[in-house]
């Protein structure tokens, strides 16, 4: 397949076990069968849904859901055990002294910080998500990606956020992408697998839809928009395209796949817009942390401030909320 690559033997050793899950010809016909996306239509629909006004009680309900569906994230080179501890505390009880604010869905960290998060979240219902497979670029050896996944799961991660190999996807090597997702899914064991498409690097909505179908066919439990390290990150139209792919996939196979929007979501208004698109595309059944997540590092405080604004009727200040 690739005799010039020194890692080829290694790749063969790991991949062939699962590569038979879907043969190349089947994968080809699957990919060819993916219908193309009406770009103008998608943009237009997302823009019109974003205009919907959600106020008062509905807004409070939506904000509460946004907190429950949030993957509170820190993915910095400068992450320390202390920072992860602080984030975990915030994840369990977003607003100290106010038990009416629910815990977030998960804390999302780098693999090396998983153990720190697990130690501080035990006994809570907040889960630990770990990025893996050479996040954020995905440009590493398959064996290393799988080993990283296994290590993260062993360290206690309940959820794995993997990145697809965009280089392979863009050069048309769908088989390689597919095999990798299958292999990582296997390495996850019981852990949930979220597959990051990094839509900002895929170029077109057609590619996004194709990558979504590919990831779901390979066994993804969730498909996720972005790493947050590439601009543009999550956008509403791209999310709409991915949700429609999920809807079509569920119609075909009956297996519900979750959706995670991540990257660049900083305000409550944006978060509510995602919930509106979610509701209109996948329905109320998806409005649960089991099937929808918002990945964000700086969204939580804005949501808390909006909740306080709704409750007190007074515009809030970041000075009175914990630093995130």
């Amino acid at each position: 397949m690739c005799p010039s690559q020194p890692n080829c033997a290694e790749r063969r050793r790991i991949i062939p076990v699962v590569a038979t899950a879907l043969s190349l010809t089947h994968l080809g016909s699957l990919m060819r069968g993916v219908r193309s996306v009406d770009e103008v239509g998608a943009d237009e629909r997302a823009a019109s849904l974003a205009k919907r006004s959600i106020k008062k009680a509905s807004k409070l309900w939506a904000l509460d859901l946004a907190v429950r569906c949030m993957d509170l994230t820190t993915l910095e080179g400068s992450d320390t055990p202390g920072k992860v501890t602080a984030l975990c505390a915030k994840g369990i009880r977003p607003k100290p002294g106010d038990a009416t604010i629910p815990s977030v869905a998960a804390i999302c960290v780098y693999p090396a910080r998983v153990a720190d998060a697990v130690a501080h979240l035990s006994g809570s219902n907040v889960r630990v998500a770990s990025v893996a497979t050479a996040f954020p670029s995905g440009q590493s050896f398959p064996s290393i990606k799988i080993a990283e996944t296994e290590e993260a799961v062993r360290a206690g991660a309940h959820e794995i956020d993997m990145v697809i190999d965009r280089g392979a996807f863009l050069s048309g090597d769908y088989q390689r992408v597919y095999d990798e997702v299958v292999a990582v899914k296997e390495a996850c064991g019981t852990a949930h697998l979220k597959v990051i498409l990094e839509t900002g690097e895929l170029g077109t909505y057609d590619a996004v839809r194709r990558a979504s179908i590919l990831a779901m066919a390979a066994g993804a439990d969730f498909i996720k928009t972005s790493t947050g390290k590439v601009q543009p990150a999550a956008t509403l139209p791209v999310s709409l395209v991915m949700m429609e792919a999920i809807r079509d996939f569920v119609r075909e196979t009956g297996r519900p796949v979750g959706f995670k929007a991540a990257g660049g979501i900083r305000t409550s208004k944006q978060a509510i817009a995602y919930l509106v698109v979610l509701y209109e595309t996948l329905g109320s059944g998806w409005m649960t942390p089991d099937l929808f997540r918002l990945g964000a590092s700086t969204l939580l405080n804005d949501v808390l401030m909006q909740i306080d604004k709704e409750r007190t009727g007074v515009y809030q200040s970041g000075d009175y909320f914990t630093i995130d």
Partner: protein, 268 residues
């Protein structure tokens, strides 16, 4: 050709219509945007974002920018005289406004010497006090004098490094809105000065209660409004500045400042 001007709000360095799309006619002829609480919210957010960089500017640089505002105002003197009704009184008011800006421009780097102190303390400490900007300041400008009043309140707040969200006088907003054009061309970073027009009863309660506003200058308020503003301001212990004096004074700058005292060990 007679090109009629659309007056707009000044928020985050941009001239915008009210998000509500509303307008009102203060004097029966010109449409002026009727700002909503959401415009106010946007203005406060812009001001909060602009605050750290503006406070970190050197005093000299802030002085230069205030001086530039004086130059811009002076060069558009005729326009303002027209807006104020013309005549000797209007001319005097514009001159006064220019002088106020120049005067406060000079104070930026002299204030710490006057308001700051070295405190004698019974211990091996070097103890000194310095004025620091309070943060986001809401200003309710007086209707009379419509231009000079606004300039006095704004210049005093900006001089010390505060950022401002100003409500133009409801009945005479045109000089204040036009003054925003002066600030827009004076090198003030976006968000440092924000000017809103509209009905005071729609804006003042939100400004006074806003948790992210650190001080409110009620120079243009009626007694009832002051009382309501004080009650609303209590939630985040907002500084309520009540000055009636219409002359300029360095003590009017310190009204917008907080005093920071530092204890520095010596001889150890």
């Amino acid at each position: 050709m007679d090109v009629r001007k659309t007056y707009k709000l000044f928020v985050n360095g941009e001239f915008v219509r009210s998000e509500s799309g509303r307008a009102y006619r203060p004097d029966g002829s010109v449409n002026v945007p009727r700002g909503s609480r959401k415009d106010l919210r946007d203005a406060v957010r812009a001001a909060r974002t602009a605050f750290p960089a503006w406070a970190a500017r050197t005093a000299m640089n802030r002085g230069q920018i205030l001086y530039r505002a004086a130059e811009m105002l002076d060069s558009r003197g005729a326009q303002f005289i027209g807006l104020l009704g013309g005549g000797a009184k209007a001319r005097r008011e514009v001159d006064q406004a220019v002088e106020t800006l120049v005067w406060y421009a000079g104070w930026t780097d002299k204030l710490p010497q006057i308001a700051g102190t070295v405190n004698p303390v019974a211990g091996p400490y070097f103890n000194f006090t310095l004025p620091e900007p309070t943060g986001v300041v809401g200003i309710v400008a007086p209707g009379e004098p419509a231009l000079a009043g606004m300039v006095r309140r704004l210049a005093a707040a900006l001089c010390g490094g505060n950022v401002v969200v100003a409500l133009a006088p409801e009945s005479r907003p045109l000089p204040a809105l036009t003054l925003a054009e002066v600030f827009a061309t004076s090198d003030f970073p976006a968000g440092v000065v924000n000017v809103l027009s509209g009905q005071r009863r729609e804006l003042l309660p939100w400004l006074a209660a806003h948790m992210d506003v650190n001080a409110i200058d009620v120079a243009g308020c009626t007694l009832d409004e002051v009382k309501a503003a004080e009650a609303a301001a209590a939630d985040n212990v907002k500084r309520v500045i009540k000055v009636t004096a219409d002359e300029a004074s360095p003590y009017l700058i310190t009204a917008f400042m907080e005093m920071k005292t530092v204890w520095h060990p010596i001889g150890m």
